[in-house]
Symmetry: C2
Subunit: 197 residues, 2 copies
């Protein structure tokens, strides 16, 4: 059995989302993984779910897809703010609670701290004590040379799961289409899932 | 045994975060709930965790806190973008995967659609087919009169768990201090957890 891997990410919002999912699935297949997209129909979907409002039905199918997979890869490329897409983050936390491996990639190399400082405009304080205009603390941890990729729960969940987090600087115009970081993440995930290292 | 409830939210970033957590705990206690804050020390924290980088240690303690609780209340007030704080969303998905009840509140009444349209500046398309400047789809679901509160995984997770999501318009200056929506959420959570309705 090839490991099944759920592809979490805002890629589902791309204009050609089905074709984009197919591109990613082909890359996973080359690395020995069966990929599941949030856009896939759910085999055996309960008939009762067909009567739910669309957003509830999509949510339930996505949770069921995640439960059917051995691991998850999240696209953490920042989405409408300094952090990753909220749906992607929910799914990452969900899979982490199931105790299964989580992996991630981002087409953004700047640290969460630097992105947040830029986003909030005129931060108050200084290194070690940054706050935004509302007085809310800005997370700052010195552990990585590259800085954190996102909120500590995200970086922490991936680290605790023994996953990898691939970050790569990509020109803004290609940040939703460039799959080099994705493929590096898939390659590492495949190696870990199939060989345990 | 009083139900234990985990308080997820960016309140941990407030200038007086410990006092803010204490305020919230007192409200929970009045409604028969024992609240756990991410800022609380973890009873029985493994000695090995003391040697971890701070962000990894906080992450592990928060996951352990969540596992020790019967339910979770998330503060979904938008945080540095149209969506809730990423750490909060991770924790909501985490608790949902454990199959335990999740509740939420937000001091923002505007829909996720309206907030996202405002955030992206000059959206393309129109009702039913909104996209941002990168061509990425903007989520739009007609199910609620009030519109969605956030990404469908968030609204969907709370709905599937039988939870409540309290939304209230609060002046911007009070959106991190006003606890009326929080207390309404706690009251509902207490009723559901103690009486099952």
């Amino acid at each position: 059995m090839r490991p099944r891997i759920y592809l979490a990410g805002p890629d589902v919002f791309l204009p050609d989302a089905q074709a984009e999912a197919a591109r990613r699935k082909r890359i996973c297949a080359r690395h020995g993984l069966d990929a599941v997209s949030p856009l896939d129909p759910l085999p055996g979907e309960p008939a009762a779910w067909l009567a739910l409002p669309e957003w509830q039905r999509i949510h339930r199918c996505n949770e069921a897809h995640i439960r059917s997979c051995d691991a998850l890869i999240a696209n953490l490329t920042p989405f409408r703010g300094p952090s990753a897409d909220a749906g992607t983050v929910y799914e990452l936390g969900f899979m982490r609670a199931l105790g299964r491996p989580v992996f991630a990639y981002s087409n953004e190399a700047a640290s969460f701290l630097d992105r947040t400082l830029a986003f909030v405009g005129a931060p108050q304080g200084g290194p070690g004590a940054w706050r935004d205009a509302e007085g809310m603390q800005i997370e700052e941890f010195a552990a990585h040379a590259a800085g954190m990729a996102d909120n500590l729960m995200i970086d922490g969940g991936i680290a605790a799961a023994g996953g990898v987090l691939v970050r790569r600087a990509v020109p803004a115009s290609a940040r939703w289409s460039d799959l080099a970081a994705f493929e590096a993440c898939v390659e590492a995930a495949g190696r870990i899932l199939r060989e345990g290292s």
